[in-house]
Every structure is written in structure tokens, then in C-alpha cells.
């Protein structure tokens, strides 16, 4: 965060591990909370809907970063787990009229159960094999949802879901939805921050850095790998439910393999193994197609015909997306988080830097 640690001396481990490293950090948090609460007052519905998409993506990116960034287990099945959450919630809501405080965790728990199942092969395999096993998980879940009408609710494989009701009031506007989503995004962020600095989080990092060594110092690798898969999948499931609420419909086409890749891109671009990085990545990747469209719609009309633009925009987005992944991997493997740290590091001793 933005603060300077001049004149602060820590004298105990408790102080070093504190969630607010400096007295000033408390005020930074207060400032951030105020900013997020005041934001909807100054934005139109359209910009708020984009902000809402970002909040949803933050939850999913945090979960995937826990798995890939902290535990070092790659997963290409994040999108499918979101669909598990989405359809679990959609069925609960339409059949049993479940309220949101039941539907959201239920979607998460269901996704966590399925995700842990996908994670079982991680005991014996890693790296590429795990990537392919999770890819298989993605395709099999997609196929199952698409072919079992009991889950997917009919031909279109989509279920209409009403907006959630909070305290008897149904959320209608994007502003109301914003506060609803902000609550979950904040909860997810604090949850991962605390998990990462606990015994469990350190076990995850030990497994990532050297799994055999981690086992030798007494970490039950299988249990922690499964736990990591389960927590990441729980986050994915919640993301799916939130996205379903946002769209008003659960549809498996919103959770296909390209979504898994989008989320992987978020954490690569944002920064592996970093909470702030996940948030940066979520913002960046969510904004990318929107920014591409804005730019091309305002400037592209000078060169191309409108009919051509409809074809150019999604493909140009793919090109930029692919190029960015490669550029970040090659030039800044620690992502936007590292760039942010570099900027902060520069200002830390500014203006007396040598």
C-alpha cells in the first residue's frame, strides 16, 4: 500500500505479522473503503456494470491465484468449476427458492467438492499432466452440464435466475448490485490474505517451492494439495454464482475453456502469488476487451466499414490478449504487481534516492 515506513521499528513477531504493518496502513484501508463506498455515487450505470464485472473477476482470480500462484498446481478447469457453482445455485434458487446467503455458499461448496475430485490426480502427477487432467475435467463438466437436462434445465442449457433479495429488498440497479458484489469481493480478498499468512498458506508455498522437501518437513502434501484445490474451487463456485446473479441467467457458454484461460491470464499478468496482483489482473483482463472495443469503435470507423469492425474487434482482442501474455511472461514474469512495487520502491525514499 501507499505509505512510508520511516521511523517505525518492530520489536516483536506479532508486530511483524500484523495485518496493518504500519499505523498509517490503517488509514490507507479507511481511505480505500471510503473510496469504494463513494464510487457508485460518481459513476453511471454503465461504468458501474463494468466495475461489477471486475468485482466478480477479482473473486475468481484470487481463488485461481491461491492454487497456481501459492500452491504451484496448474489448473485449466477454473471456468468449469464456475459453471458448477452457477448451476448449483440456479437449481437451488429456481426449485427451492433459496435465498442468496444459502445459494452463494452452496454453489461454492459444490464446486469445492468437484474441484477436490479433479485435484485427486495431483497426488501422482504434476505440471503438464496436471494441466491436461484439469483440461479433461473442464471438458467433462462442460459436456455433462450440456447433456443432462436435470442440471441444465432444458434445451438451451440455461436457467433464468432472479436478482438476489437482501433484507427483503430485491436488488434492481447496478448500484445495489455493486454493494452486494463488493461485500463478497472484500470478503474473498481478506480471506485469501489471512489464509496466505497462516500455517496453511505457508504449507501451500512450501509445496510450490519444493514439494518433496515440503513432504520431508512433515507437510501432508496430498491433504494440502486437495485443500488448495477445494478452496480455489470454492472461490470459483462463488464467482459462478455471483456472475449468474449479475447476468440473471446460468448458461454454460459463459464458463467455457476460454474463461479458464482468461483467469489464468489474469493471474499471470497481475502477478503469481500475490493478492494485489490478482486484483490488478482482474481489472486489466476485464477491461481489455472493453478498451479494445471503445478504441476501435471511436477510431476504427475511420478505416474500416462497420460490418468489418464486428469481425475485427473480437479477433484483435485475441491478438492483443495473446501478445500481452507472452510479453508479460518474457519481460515481467512477476506481472503488474512487480511494476507496482517498483513504482512504490522508487517513491519510498523519494526525493532522496540514490
Amino acid at each position: 500500500m501507499l505509505h512510508r515506513e520511516c521511523g517505525v521499528f518492530k520489536t516483536s513477531y506479532a508486530a511483524d505479522m500484523a495485518i496493518y504493518p504500519l499505523p498509517l496502513a490503517r488509514w490507507t484501508v479507511v481511505g480505500l473503503v471510503a473510496l469504494f463506498l463513494a464510487l457508485p455515487l460518481s459513476l453511471s450505470e454503465y461504468y458501474l456494470s463494468i466495475l461489477n464485472l471486475i468485482l466478480i473477476a477479482v473473486v475468481g482470480a484470487l481463488g485461481l491465484n491461491l492454487l497456481v500462484g501459492y500452491t504451484g498446481q496448474i489448473s485449466v478447469g477454473h471456468g468449469a468449476l464456475m459453471s458448477v457453482g452457477a448451476y448449483t445455485a440456479a437449481n437451488l434458487i429456481t426449485r427451492l427458492h433459496a435465498p442468496f446467503w444459502l445459494a452463494v455458499p452452496a454453489g461454492g461448496v459444490m464446486a469445492a467438492a468437484i474441484g477436490a475430485l479433479i485435484g485427486v490426480p495431483s497426488l501422482r502427477i504434476k505440471g503438464l499432466y496436471l494441466a491436461i487432467a484439469t483440461l479433461a475435467g473442464q471438458l467433462i463438466i462442460e459436456w455433462t452440464i450440456n447433456h443432462v437436462p436435470w442440471i441444465s434445465g432444458g434445451v438451451q442449457a440455461s436457467i433464468d435466475v432472479p436478482r438476489p433479495s437482501v433484507l427483503g429488498m430485491q436488488l434492481k440497479t447496478q448500484t445495489q448490485l455493486y454493494f452486494f458484489l463488493l461485500f463478497f469481493a472484500a470478503l474473498a480478498t481478506v480471506g485469501i490474505m489471512n489464509l496466505a499468512r497462516s500455517r496453511i498458506g505457508r504449507a501451500f508455498i512450501a509445496i510450490r517451492d519444493q514439494d518433496v522437501a515440503a513432504e520431508i518437513i512433515g507437510i501432508n502434501i496430498f491433504r494440502y494439495k486437495l485443500l488448495s484445490f477445494a478452496v480455489a474451487s470454492f472461490y470459483a463456485g462463488v464467482t459462478g454464482v455471483l456472475y449468474t446473479y449479475y447476468l440473471g441467467v446460468a448458461n454454460y457458454e459463459q464458463f467455457q475453456i476460454n474463461v479458464s484461460i482468461d483467469y489464468l491470464a489474469m493471474i499471470i499478468i497481475g502477478g503469481l502469488g500475490s493478492v494485489l496482483g490478482s486484483i490488478f489482473g482482474a481489472i486489466f483482463v476485464t477491461m481489455l476487451p472493453i478498451a479494445t472495443r471503445w478504441t476501435l469503435e471511436s477510431l476504427g470507423g475511420l478505416i474500416f466499414a462497420p460490418s468489418e469492425l464486428a469481425n475485427i474487434i473480437p479477433n484483435l482482442r485475441l491478438v492483443i490478449f495473446g501478445a500481452l501474455i507472452i510479453i508479460f511472461l518474457a519481460l515481467e514474469p512477476e506481472g503488474l504487481y512487480r511494476l507496482w512495487r517498483n513504482v512504490l520502491g522508487y517513491f519510498r525514499v523519494w526525493p532522496f534516492s540514490y
Binding site: 497456481v68 504451484g72 496448474i74 490426480p121 501422482r124 502427477i125 504434476k126 505440471g127 503438464l128 499432466y129 494441466a131 491436461i132 487432467a133 483440461l135 479433461a136 471438458l139 467433462i140 459436456w143 450440456n146 447433456h147 519444493q210 518433496v212 522437501a213 484461460i261 489464468l264 491470464a265 499471470i268 503469481l272 469481425n311 475485427i312 473480437p314 479477433n315 484483435l316 482482442r317 485475441l318 491478438v319 492483443i320 490478449f321 495473446g322 501478445a323 500481452l324 501474455i325 507472452i326 511472461l329 518474457a330 514474469p333
Partner: protein, 299 residues
């Protein structure tokens, strides 16, 4: 259950073998790269699609005859393979597996977007100079496209066998695959063979692109063939050329049998589904494949 129909089953199996050989051709590109450079290519399907686009564009824009188009695709993909290795993969040497996987996923997105931008969104045809009169072998009907595909695949496997066993370059490549350090100590330019492996993956993809493009038509969807590569290589074993053939045959036959017998009951789509179920089972029982070498890990 109707009475067991031998002719139907035989037809399914024969077609499966042909398709399986065509899968082998594509999977070979993946295995070559993995064997020599330890890099994992998630963009193999996009390679095939891109090669198909080059060949189709040669015929469409240049009006070139088939053989020139195929040569154009091979040449283009060799250049592409060399370039990709130099620009994208070389900076990633020594980095975690996740990084290389993500980089190739990035390449896949890039290729998919670029191919459509450059060549248009419509489906283009590649016309093989063999006609489309199917060949009848008893009850079995074989489309000429599949025959050509399987033939090219077999021819290429033989050529690869010869290359790896007999030529100086092939032996050097096997040395690099076996141990990069020892290969370096023996005076082999390892980087050059990394580039060569990617170029060879390019050749294989070019042939795959022409053959698959002729069968399915060339558009964005052609890249989906790449999804079949993973069951093939996992079943056969990642670092084995023979394993790729066996894996390809298994996947081809299984998906055809599943499509023939299960599709009527579950409403389609088992073709893309069955190989992955088989693969999961294989991963649980024998994670390193039928012919793959077991890895021993040291700290």
C-alpha cells in the same frame, strides 16, 4: 439392444484407425517438441489451423495448384517454428512449467485472432487432387481424404524413424532429448536443435493442416483438433514416438465406437468426450502412459 452388427463395428473400427493415424500426425508435433526441449505446446491445434489457413490462402488468393499450396504451408510453418522458438520459447528456458504452458496458450490466442484477421472468418476449402469417390473394402467405406491422411501419416512416421535412427542430425537430437548437458559436452549445439525441433513440429503441423483442412474445411474451428492431441499423448506416453501411434489408434477407434454406439442414447457429443474419460482412467492407473518413461525425482 439390436443384434450385434459385425459390418457396422468393422466400419467404425476401420474409420477409427484412419482417423487415429491422422491424430498421430498432429500429436507427433507435440511429442517432438516435448522430447527435445521439455516445452509443452498447448497451441498445437492452432499450428494446424494456421497451416491450413496458409495452404487455403495460397489456393484462394494466389490460385496456386495443390502441391504448391502444400509446399507453401510446409515452408511457412518451418519459418514460423524457427521464429517462435527464437522469440517466445528461448527467453523462457529454465522457467517453471506453468510459464511455458501459458506462453503457448498465449500463442494459441494470438494465432487464432491473427488467422481470422488476416484470412477472414469464412470457411475455406482445400481440395486434395484425389477426387471424393469413396473406396469400398467389403462392407467398409473409406473416403479418400482419410486414406490420404493415414498414408501421409504412415509415410511421415517412416521418415521420422529413418531420420532419428540413421541421420547425424537425428542422433544429435536424440542426444539432446536424453540429456542436454551431456549433449552440450559432446559438442552439440543444443539451441540449434531446440529450434530444429520446433521447425519439425511446424512441418508436421503443416501436413496435418493440409490433411485435416481438406477433411473439415479451414476456419477457426480447425484448431479444435488440437484438443485430441492430449488424450493421444497421455495414453501413449509423452516422450515416445511409438506411443503416439498407439495412442492415436486407441483414441481414433474409441471415439468412433463411442460415437457409433453411445451417441443415440445420450444425444451426441461422445466423440469429444470419450477420449478424455479414457485419458483420466489412464492417468489414474498409469500416469506416464503406455510407452512413456517413468521419471525419478531428485531434490
Amino acid at each position: 439392444m439390436p443384434e450385434f452388427d459385425w459390418a457396422f463395428t468393422l466400419a467404425l473400427i476401420t474409420n477409427g484407425v484412419m482417423i487415429g493415424l491422422m491424430y498421430t500426425l498432429i500429436a507427433l508435433g507435440f511429442v517432438l517438441v516435448y522430447k527435445a526441449t521439455d516445452a509443452i505446446n498447448f497451441a498445437q491445434g492452432e499450428f494446424v489451423m494456421f497451416a491450413g489457413f496458409i495452404a487455403a490462402a495460397g489456393a484462394y488468393f494466389g490460385g496456386l495448384p495443390f502441391w504448391s499450396c502444400a509446399l507453401l504451408a510446409v515452408g511457412g510453418m518451418i519459418a514460423f517454428g524457427f521464429g517462435l522458438e527464437r522469440v517466445v520459447l528461448r527467453p523462457l528456458i529454465g522457467r517453471p512449467v506453468v510459464a511455458v504452458i501459458m506462453a503457448t496458450i498465449g500463442v494459441a490466442a494470438l494465432l487464432r485472432g491473427f488467422a481470422t484477421l488476416a484470412f477472414g472468418a469464412g470457411t475455406r476449402a482445400i481440395v486434395l487432387p484425389v477426387g471424393d469417390e469413396p473406396l469400398f473394402l467389403g462392407p467398409v467405406m473409406l473416403p479418400p481424404v482419410e486414406l490420404v491422411g493415414a498414408g501421409v501419416s504412415l509415410l511421415f512416421l517412416a521418415a521420422f524413424g529413418w531420420f532419428f535412427l540413421r541421420t547425424r542430425m537425428g542422433i544429435a537430437m536424440r542426444a539432446v532429448a536424453d540429456s542436454q548437458q551431456v549433449a552440450m559436452a559432446m559438442g552439440i549445439n543444443v539451441q540449434r536443435y531446440f529450434a530444429l525441433a520446433w521447425a519439425m513440429a511446424g512441418i508436421v503441423s503443416a501436413l496435418g493442416g493440409v490433411v485435416w483442412g481438406a477433411m473439415l474445411g479451414v476456419d477457426n474451428q480447425l484448431a479444435l483438433v488440437g484438443f485430441k492431441v492430449f488424450p493421444v499423448v497421455i495414453l501413449g506416453g509423452l516422450d515416445s514416438v511409438i506411443g503416439t501411434v498407439v495412442g492415436g489408434l486407441i483414441v481414433g477407434v474409441v471415439e468412433n465406437l463411442a460415437a457409433g454406439y453411445l451417441d443415440p442414447y445420450v444425444g451426441g457429443g461422445t466423440k469429444d468426450f470419450a477420449p478424455y474419460v479414457l485419458m483420466i482412467v489412464a492417468l489414474m492407473i498409469r500416469p506416464y502412459g503406455i510407452f512413456g518413461s517413468r521419471r525419478i525425482e531428485r531434490i
